[in-house]
Symmetry: C2
Subunit: 335 residues, 2 copies
């Protein structure tokens, strides 16, 4: 078993400093020819690969991008990560992944770890209520030192970059489509209340009710959790009402799948008996039957913009902090 | 905007070598007290964080684990990665992720990149036919230099670690369960042929037919791709046969979801009219309705073992290379 050589071993054997070895590795011409020859022959002898770690120290860049997210098994996050990693690779960057698994302490801990590892920048995908005091302080400390990009998430008083989908435009487009088809008995299974994306969508739905676009029925708005189980349970509740909705909106695709499951269980045909729409366009919405009509994020451009902000050395000194991408109506079988 | 300081900046300001700065950072006592004081005060002045990159150079360990896999949006891979990352974190390691996206050239390119980045070890999750000559040569070159762990995958003549599920035991358990319930008309939608896991399962199924445990019907074995679409299409083909199978096995859960979709489309009740089983226990199999009975990998222990082999500095000099974990029968609604 051969131990991995480092620049320190090469320097020791050549009797020179690591800085000199580094100059040879980086083709810097400030090295005497005979010294260069001696070092190069040791490099050749061991088939020494210019170590990216050493190289990054001298160049002061690791070409690493850290990505902090709640849970990589959630297809929304894995789709963003896949796109980001693909684009990072094209630019010579490698991604590090950190799953917080919903533990708010992990957000701060991972941020600290990634800064210590000298990542070029950090992509943050937040979740529900992770805003601890500790995280806030750390973000304040690092916001001007390295690019931190939040995707579809933001925190008050933090001057990080924010790359986001235009969820207002997306959800209004969905409501418009439903109204245009003439449906007025429309329910919204809202998932978890008190988080920004939910409150935005609920207020747009309530406005449509106030304007008389949809019929006012209090029992058509049900909140709970962001899970398939909640979608099934809340849908069963809707199906027990005297007036059954014509269209049921899942505030995200995961809930929409739960709604679909409840329809299968009650032997209702979708979209003949009842129509379903979702939001996010995660992979799951396209593999179930019938496939779910939804509003899609521009995953590719969200991810590319986030990576661009990290690799563009001038981004931090520019003023622009928020970048918004339009969402898309994805017509499938359930509506 | 503050630029991130490096040990080189500190060394320059103190007029000492980086090695001396490093000794102070690592609490090495071979530094004169007044030199230590000078360096420490510069460190304090800039609130300089001991850089993990510099530290790793001196300690010759990056505490990085590289993970090469086909596609992180596939829930099988993301589940393994989540478990590996969780366990790596507990041991002070960070994960790097590389998606090959089915491009066989990417496997070799990523391997080279990760070695240059001095990762402590690499987790490989292969896919179909990625065994290029170039990859084989690189693996041969590095197999004794750093721990490379293949999860549920292996390559001939390569002496890497292999951490695997006992798919033979798992699939036999599934066939036994079906036979025990008295079903004899059993179909297998086999997905892509010519890859090891498929051929293993097909041969076990054919053996059960030869032994008379299941009825012999050639048209009950259909191959194709590993996709929901293939599962739907092949299931429609089965449903058009004069004798409809009692149980349909999807060789993985993705195909089983396609089978379920075809049943919904044909208004067949599962499991009343027809029974479905899958394999792998990915998240998808539990969120559809009815949820799919399947055979599960021991994701947690597979991932932990892979990480353990990387962080255990003695693993490379031991002889043991293959570690096998039993699979589990997960009884749900579809069977």
């Amino acid at each position: 078993m051969r131990r991995n050589l480092t620049v320190y071993d090469i320097a020791a054997e050549a009797g020179v400093s690591v800085a000199t070895v580094s100059r040879v590795l980086n083709n810097n011409d400030k090295v005497a020819e005979n010294t260069r020859y001696k070092i190069q022959s040791i490099i050749d002898k061991y088939d020494f690969k210019p170590n990216e770690v050493a190289r990054s120290l001298f160049k002061n860049e690791t070409k690493l991008i850290g990505c902090i997210l709640p849970d990589i098994t959630n297809p929304y996050y894995s789709t963003v990560l896949l796109e980001a990693e693909k684009y990072a690779l094209m630019n010579g960057y490698t991604m590090m992944i950190c799953n917080t698994r919903g533990d708010s302490d992990n957000y701060a801990m991972y941020l600290q770890t990634l800064v210590e590892r000298q990542v070029t920048g950090i992509i943050y995908m937040g979740g529900e209520s992770v805003e601890t005091m500790q995280l806030h302080q750390l973000l304040k400390k690092y916001e001007d030192r390295l690019p931190i990009v939040m995707i579809n998430w933001s925190m008050q008083d933090i001057n990080c970059f924010c790359v986001q989908s235009d969820e207002e435009q997306g959800f209004l487009m969905l409501l418009d489509q439903i109204a245009k088809e003439g449906y007025r008995d429309v329910a919204l299974l809202a998932g978890k209340r008190g988080v920004m994306p939910t409150e935005l969508k609920v207020s747009l739905y309530q406005e449509a009710v106030r304007k008389g676009i949809f019929n006012e029925r209090e029992e058509y708005l049900i909140d709970g959790e962001f899970s398939v189980e909640y979608g099934m349970k809340a849908m069963k509740q809707l199906l027990s009402l005297p007036v059954r909705p014509e269209v049921v909106i899942g505030i995200n695709d995961i809930i929409a799948v739960g709604i679909l499951n409840a329809c299968h269980m009650h032997k209702l045909s979708v979209p003949e008996d009842i129509k379903i729409v979702g939001f996010d366009n995660i992979n799951l919405s396209s593999v179930v039957y019938p496939s779910i009509t939804t509003i899609g994020h521009d995953y590719e451009n969200l991810a590319r913009k986030a990576v661009d902000l990290i690799i563009d050395k001038t981004a931090l000194v520019k003023r622009e902090r928020i970048f918004t991408f339009p969402m898309e109506y994805i017509c499938r079988e359930s509506f």
